[in-house]
Symmetry: C2
Subunit: 143 residues, 2 copies
């Protein structure tokens, strides 16, 4: 499924579908959420599969280009990715105390963004919204 999409993408560009790319694609999707290149790399080694760090980085870039994964955010400790296939668009709330992440989607929010873009003559392609604050649990702890 995603594999097909990736293969098509590669062929179109005269690129090849290799063992390493298969492994990296599968592991990326297996996270079913957020992940970072280093964790992905270790996952691969742990399961006895093989792919170098360089290939991981190279392939993640390809997967981004064909839309199978997305770069969510760059942190001090590197880039965070997320598999986006079959995953509908959503935004994030990030708890600045415990680091937990809430994914949410709001139709009105999307609509208003479209309006705002139109107002500025801007053609929006995609967006990232991150709301930082305190999750339910940490609000209690703060007191």
């Amino acid at each position: 499924m995603e594999k097909k999409l990736f293969i098509t993408f590669l062929k179109e560009r005269g690129l090849r579908f290799t063992k390493e790319r298969t492994v990296i694609l599968q592991k990326s999707l297996s996270f079913n959420g957020h992940f970072d290149p280093e964790s992905l790399y270790h996952q691969i080694r742990k399961t006895g599969l093989k792919a170098s760090r360089a290939s991981v980085y190279r392939t993640l870039n390809l997967l981004c280009e064909c839309g199978l994964i997305e770069r969510v955010r760059k942190t001090d400790r590197g880039t965070i990715y997320e598999s986006s296939f079959g995953h509908k668009h959503h935004d994030h709330m990030l708890c600045i105390r415990c680091g937990s992440i809430i994914e949410f989607y709001s139709e009105p929010l999307e609509k208003i963004q479209e309006k705002v873009c139109k107002k500025h003559g801007f053609l929006g392609a995609n967006h990232t919204l991150e709301i930082r604050g305190y999750c339910k649990t940490c609000q209690k702890k703060k007191k």
Copy 2:
């Protein structure tokens, strides 16, 4: 004004208000918008003032902590800051072709975010919204 705020912040923490920090504060504000540490550093050298790269980075962190500036986004080429004092909150549209940035503010957008937070029991402190796409000029060029 901003200087007072910074001095107070420093005193509270037993930190000192030095020549270097003055220079870095003033230059940071002088950009009146987005800037990056490297440009700031070169601005300082160009005008014959003195402050090392190390001090620039250290001071930018302090200025962030006391809210006088904000980290807007991390790029492949480093962090982008923005002076936030006297600057009311706004979000960004980023043209992925020419790199131009449109700042905008939308009251309804803010209100809806508050609602969404409430719905998830989340206490929002601040947020970043970046809409990527094509600015008016680049839409024309694309054709």
